[in-house]
């Protein structure tokens, strides 16, 4: 009976990443004497180590063991928590992440970095506790941790005696109902104890019998009680084992032997890696990194991800499904013998069904929602590192981290946010002396906030730095020829220039930011999520970057429209208004361009049938229906044949089985089972611009030809 451990590896990875994140977050807040936090960090490290051991990722176990030892010393108060140590630990956490990521991606990692950090850790350990030297030498044998430590303690307290116990049970010991673990625990109560499990006699997998015990133990017990008391512990198993209890004088020699033995055991255990003994060894409480083979871990890369869902969300789902079932049975009963007198009840039932479905949909969507703290969590560390690197004192304020956001949006917004925060620190916050000179507090503040506004979520990245120098941006834009010398722009337009590719006002390029690469990518990423970004800034007081994102990508509110025979969906969020055109407001300018006067705006009209080359009922702008939409600050009027219902639609990708289609962001399935395309307004505008450009070019060519 062997369990395929590899099926649990994804869980291990996920938990490890969570552990690592927790360690990182806690380390940043760690203060002297904060027992709870250090315990939390220690536990996280321990879980990672334990998990890694179970799955045979020995390099992780080895490395984490060092971290754990250092943490253990801090926890026991044997070591002061210094800033330097925290830096080292943060560094070590990074290494752990690299190691785990390498396991996840089945890729290689930079071993030199890991080795350097291990050395640093080992040096730190040596530094303050020379008596623990042996640990550092045999650092990769986690199972002897206690043993060596004990053995190294040369000064015995008076009255205590060191006993060496060799406990070699018969194979059938566990069948008699005895549990060696209980025995060992009983021994532990007598005094301080170190245990070494000897797995030499574990047979190969084919001969292995799960009901037999193949392990023997060497125990060093530091206790005040006599031999009889120790023997009493083993009273019940006396006949089923070989037991040697001896007073231990030559401790050093002994422990060295044991160390050697451990080495053998470990190297052999790697050879016998297929043995399922890991379970048993674990039971003894010894951290023996004994495992299922590495080969098992080499499964194809796991791509599916998982979400942790609160029980309350699942419960509400179950409730709703229950209601749905009731409604269904009511309706089917109604359908059994239906006549016109029951129409009213039918309608009521359908109404209820609608309600149930809506609620169910909302609940299901809520499952995909995660608090934005998942995306915010990485920032304390980022700020910590950046402020060190830039020598700026920076405080990070995070609020609204409970605001919920769709998981897929969350995953894609992480990098743009990092970029914005880096920018805020690098370009936003001034150097300390400048701040003081300007009468600002030395410590700069970067605040992150998230909140809901209408149907979207707003993420604010705010700094109290120097703000954006409007004139500098303008000058730079003129220098680069992005705008004319004469053009006058409002603030929003000026700030928009920052998103031009390659645009940077930083005088010096640092390795953090300033190369001008990125803001355009940030904007593109946000737009591809159906969001937008807005900048507010005041020179000398700071800037605020506001990122507006849709709550979810999976469902959108849409306006169904009809052009010819086709039904399309316009995302409701882009629609400014829908209107019936009046002839007096239609203007034709610059060679056939149609503008519609909407109050003081002139809105270009794009007939959908022309853009998509499809037949339409109505090709005249006069008295037609116009849906005015807005994207990237540009308003256009889409000419449609008919306005149909408004409804929520589930977005399905066309990419999966087909390819990206210009002007279309996806498809959805309507109530009658047919497919309808969802219009991508920004892309439609680009399309229309392209069409106009080709027309102009052809015209210029014919113009030239005429000369």
């Amino acid at each position: 009976m062997s369990i395929d451990l590899s099926q649990f590896i994804p869980t291990f990875l996920e938990e490890s990443f969570e552990g690592i994140e927790l360690m990182e977050a806690s380390l940043l807040t760690l203060e002297q004497g904060d027992a709870e936090t250090i315990n939390a960090i220690f536990r996280a490290a321990h879980s990672v180590k334990g998990g890694a051991g179970t799955f045979g990722f020995n390099h992780v176990t080895e490395f984490t063991h060092l971290v754990e030892t250092l943490l253990d010393e801090m926890r026991d108060g044997r070591r002061d928590i210094s800033q330097k140590d925290i830096e080292i630990l943060l560094n070590a956490v990074d290494c752990m992440r690299i190691l785990i990521e390498a396991i996840r991606d089945e890729s290689t990692y930079d071993e030199s970095k890991i080795a350097a950090t291990s050395k640093l850790l080992a040096a730190t350990l040596n530094d303050r506790s020379p008596s623990d030297e042996r640990i550092d030498e045999d650092i990769h044998e986690s199972s002897i941790e206690n043993l060596s430590e004990e053995a190294a303690t040369t000064d015995l307290e008076p009255g205590l005696q060191r006993w060496s116990i060799s406990f070699i049970p018969e194979h059938h010991l566990v069948q008699t109902g005895n549990d060696p673990l209980l025995l060992l625990n009983a021994l532990r109560e007598l005094g301080e104890m170190s245990v070494l499990a000897n797995c030499n006699s574990i047979p190969s997998l084919t001969e292995f019998d799960g009901t037999e015990l193949y392990i023997s133990w060497n125990i060093i017990l530091l206790t005040a009680v006599g031999k009889e008391d120790i023997a009493e512990v083993f009273e019940w198993v006396e006949d089923d084992c070989q037991l040697i209890i001896s007073k231990d004088e030559q401790i050093d020699k002994q422990s060295l032997e044991i160390t050697e033995m451990t080495n053998n055991v470990l190297s052999e255990s790697v050879k016998e890696a297929e043995s399922p003994a890991s379970k048993i060894v674990e039971n003894t409480g010894a951290e023996n990194p004994k495992v299922a083979s590495h080969a098992q871990a080499h499964k194809p890369k796991v791509e599916s991800s998982s979400i942790r869902v609160g029980v309350d969300k699942v419960d509400s789902l179950i409730n709703l499904v229950g209601e749905l079932v009731i409604t269904q049975s009511m309706l089917s009963e109604l359908g059994n013998d239906f006549d016109t007198s029951k129409v009213e009840r039918l309608n009521a039932g359908l109404e209820q069904l609608l309600q149930n479905t809506k609620e169910l949909q909302e609940s299901v969507m809520r499952i995909r929602m995660l608090p934005i703290s998942f995306a915010f969590n990485r920032f304390p560390r980022l700020i910590h590192d950046l402020s060190k690197k830039m020598d700026k004192e920076i405080e990070l304020l995070i609020s609204g981290e409970q605001t919920e956001l769709d998981k897929s949006v969350m995953e894609q917004i992480g990098d743009p946010l990092v970029h914005l925060v880096r920018n805020a620190v690098d370009h936003g916050i001034e150097a300390t002396d400048v701040r003081v000179a300007n009468g600002k507090p030395e410590k700069g503040t970067v605040s992150l906030d998230a909140y809901h506004q209408g149907g979207s979520i707003v993420i604010e990245i705010k700094d109290d730095g120097g703000g954006i120098d409007r004139e500098a941006v303008l000058a730079k834009a003129k220098e680069r020829g992005l705008i004319d010398e004469s053009s006058s722009l409002n603030d929003a337009q000026v700030y928009d220039l920052l998103f031009e590719p390659g645009f940077s006002t930083a005088k010096e390029v640092s390795d953090i930011s300033g190369r001008g690469v990125g803001m355009d990518v940030v904007k593109r990423n946000i737009q591809s999520l159906g969001g937008r970004i807005q900048i507010e800034s005041e020179l000398g007081l700071g800037s605020t970057f506001k990122v507006f994102l849709p709550l979810t990508l999976a469902i959108l509110d849409g306006q169904l429209i009809k052009v010819g025979r086709e039904v399309y969906i316009i995302p409701l969020i882009t629609i400014v208004e829908s209107l019936q055109t009046q002839e007096s407001l239609i203007n034709r300018t610059s060679g056939g361009m149609v503008l519609y006067r909407l109050r003081e705006d002139n809105v270009p009209v794009i007939p959908i049938y022309k853009l998509f080359n499809i037949p339409a009922e109505n090709k005249e702008i006069k008295n037609s229906l116009l849906v005015v939409v807005e994207a990237d600050g540009q308003k256009v009027g889409l000419m449609v044949d008919d306005l149909l219902a408004q409804q929520q639609v589930v977005v399905k990708s066309l990419n999966d089985n087909y390819q990206q289609v210009e002007g279309i962001s996806g498809a959805t399935i309507l109530g009658d089972g047919s497919v309808a395309m969802i219009l991508d307004v920004p892309s439609m505008i680009t399309m229309a611009l392209k069409v106009a450009k080709t027309q102009q070019e052809t015209h210029i060519m014919t113009e030239e030809a005429m000369h």
Binding site: R565, E566, L611, F612, N613, I614, K652, S653, L654, D656, N657, Y658, Q659, Q660, V661, E662, G663, I664, A667, I669, G673, S674, V675, A676, M677, M687, K690, V691, T694
Partner: protein, 175 residues
């Protein structure tokens, strides 16, 4: 090695005992279908289902042979008219027009597409030796679509490469 001896060595008991079997062959099975007067075939393992023609939803500015998309149990599946794509026969749609839905692996992900054909004919067993290279004199059909040709009685069946079929040329800019 003799396939029958091989089959006898496979330890299977009961009703599935492989005695006197004739369905094991070293070759692959192909689903054959007709386009106009011509016979074509695709590997049967890539066939998802065979459905009757229904009017799909038009994709704006798509190539002519892309008829649109349909909803197949919640999945959006594009429909390609092979007759238009290959320029064979008449692209008429009747109740007997058939759509063969094919799935193929592209890199890491699989793609599902429906192909309109005139009729589905048969399942063909083709040993590797039976598959011959198609002569390059070629009709309209580009060589990369063709895996080979197989003689069936007096007729010739062209084996098609599903992966190649599913590649749609980059969408042309609207002009």
């Amino acid at each position: 090695m003799d396939i029958q001896t091989l089959a006898n060595e496979i330890p299977v008991q009961g009703e599935y005992a492989l005695e006197g079997i004739d369905f094991i062959s070293t070759g692959e099975q192909y689903l054959t279908f007709s386009l106009g007067q011509e016979q074509y075939a695709v590997n049967i393992l890539s066939v998802e289902e065979i459905r009757s023609w229904e009017q799909p939803t038009h994709i704006p500015n798509a190539p002519k042979f892309v008829k649109g998309v349909i909803n197949m149990r919640g999945i959006i599946v594009p429909i390609i008219d092979l007759r238009l794509k290959f320029g064979i026969g008449d692209a008429k749609y009747s109740k007997t027009t058939v759509v063969v839905v094919l799935t193929a692996q592209h890199m890491t992900k699989s793609r599902t597409m429906g192909f309109v054909v005139d009729a589905v004919s048969d399942v063909l067993n083709a040993e590797q030796d039976d598959i011959k290279a198609a002569p390059a004199f070629g009709g309209n059909l580009a060589q990369h679509y063709i895996e080979g040709i197989v003689n069936v009685d007096e007729n010739v069946v062209t084996l098609l490469n599903v992966n190649a079929l599913q590649v749609i040329a980059k969408q042309k800019a609207n002009s």
